[in-house]
Amino acid sequence: MPLADKTSDRAMSRRSFLRGSAAFSGLTALAASLSPLRELSDFTSTEEFLQKYYKELSPDEMTKVLQRIERDVQRQYGIRPHVRDLKPMDGVEFVYCLNLTRCIGCRKCVHACVAENNQSRNPEIQYIRVLKLPHGSLDLEKAEHHYEAKEVPEKGFFYMPVQCQQCENPPCVKVCPVNATWQESDGITVIDYDWCIGCRYCEAACPYWARRFNFAKPQIPKERLNPEMAYLGNRPRRQGVMEKCHFCIQRTRAGKYPACLEVCPVGARKFGNILDPESEVSHILREKRVFIQLKEEMGTSPRFFYYFDK
């Protein structure tokens, strides 16, 4: 006892040292655990937090929302975008046709899509996967999307790009617990990125692996940002939400072709209105050997058709 007293007189007692260091390390641990908050530079604004469901927004409210998005994008990227809310057109139902005889597997569509739709470059998010398959079978188990050839097409293989099939009976829509994704009257299944809670049920439900999740904060270089945006389309996404191909809604609902079609060097991609009997896709479905709706047996009834020339 006298010895212990002697020590505590000269310096601290063991108990107070332990107490002090425990308190200190506890505080530092708390600070460290809170430190990720420092990265939350862009808090969800009250405006965004209180925003109504997409289908309940009045035109005035929609204008305000679009302005809010434009401000957010400008603050983040220093570029003033042009964000629109394009509605489906009457008498239009979109269909995509892809010519498997012509596709050479050059993957230009993949990157044109990324450039058009402001996907994250790091981590990488791509909507289109080009599958390489050996001739003579359509066994997807033999498909390969990591092929690294010097030159394409390679002998003995054909290529099958897969993206969102815009199903008539979409399983992803059925499983969404908050109705953040739905099918519009022109056949495009859209996502409201402000309503998505990131549960990824839709990703699990999709038989085509067409949906992508933003695991990390998306990174897009300023100089590669496409400023022509749509609310349900290519406006920048947040971390923690789903995204997928939306047939380039910002282009197609303005009458243009999707970006993947424009860039295809062999004209393997065809797009149009199936309700117009004069359209290219109507001609193809009528005249060509359209053999496949991918994974037809799933009963999803895709609006994406693969066809052959010969």
């Binding site: 006892m1 010895l3 020590t7 000269r10 310096a11 601290m12 040292f17 260091s21 200190f24 390390s25 530092t28 641990a29 600070a31 460290a32 430190s35 050479i104 050059c106 993957r107 230009k108 990157h111 044109a112 990324v114 450039a115 470059r121 790091n122 981590p123 990488e124 791509q126 996967r129 050996p134 390969e144 990591h146 092929y147 690294e148 050839a149 030159e151 394409v152 097409p153 270089p221 590669r224 197609t252 009458g255 243009k256 072709y257 079609l261 424009e262 860039v263 060097p265 062999v266 004209g267 065809k270 797009f271 149009g272 209105n273 359209s279 290219e280 001609h283 193809i284 005249e287 020339d309």
Partner: protein
């Protein structure tokens, strides 16, 4: 403190203090490191290079004759009668295997239209009486910038598909009410002397962040 705890006398003074101070300093240092976020951060992923803008190019890979005229390029190569004599069709020579012999003046021409060199006669398409035009077998004479009907005279089904928009590249607007649609001519993609589309290097594949093993083994 229990009085029964024996404390070695030689260890009680300066030694304990020094130890405690050192421990405090060590803990403080660790805490600083911790706060500075050197630990507890997931390592940054590998850097993914941006794709070469070459792969985003939407222009067709060939210039047709009319494109060259439009761009006011040097058309002296197309002035046939700078070398050839008028009203005297140049002769066509074949080797023993009935392969066409391409004269050195035309060495840039690769003749491989049709399999097994079946279509190797220049005058199947060129007009022997007027080298500045093309001829269709039915007697029509076409200018170089209007070669599509000539192609269609043999490739009927493909021509039909092209007219309907099912073959070949289109760009612009799917909705004619909103804007024009532009359709390329055959020679914008196909070299008429060697129409098969050449192979090319593909754009980079998906980054294999999720792949634990190199994907090459998946080949059938």
């Amino acid at each position: 403190m229990a009085p029964s705890v024996p404390t070695p006398p030689e260890n009680s003074g300066a030694g304990t203090n020094a130890l405690l101070v050192a421990l405090t300093a060590a803990f403080g240092g660790l805490a600083l490191l911790f706060v500075a976020d050197l630990w507890g951060h997931t390592p940054a992923g590998p850097k993914i290079p941006l794709v070469d803008p070459v792969f985003l190019e939407t222009k067709p890979w060939r210039n047709s004759y009319s494109d060259m005229v439009g761009a006011k390029e040097d058309m002296s190569d197309y002035d046939c009668y700078a070398c050839h004599e008028k009203a005297k069709p140049p002769p066509i020579r074949f080797d023993a295997n009935h392969r066409i012999i391409i004269p050195k003046e035309h060495a840039n021409i690769e003749m491989s239209h049709g399999s097994h060199d079946r279509n190797n006669l220049c005058y199947n398409c060129h007009h022997e009486a007027n080298l500045l035009t093309l001829q269709v077998r039915d007697g029509r004479e076409l200018k170089f910038d209007n070669s599509t009907p000539l192609c269609g005279s043999c490739h009927g089904p493909t021509y039909r598909d092209w007219e309907a928009g099912a073959h070949g590249r289109t760009s612009g607007h799917w909705d004619a009410k909103r804007g024009a649609i532009s359709r390329l001519a055959c020679v914008n993609c196909h070299n008429p002397h060697a129409p098969h589309i050449p192979t090319r290097p593909p754009a980079p594949g998906p980054h294999s962040l999720r792949e634990a093993v190199a994907p090459a083994a998946a080949h059938p």
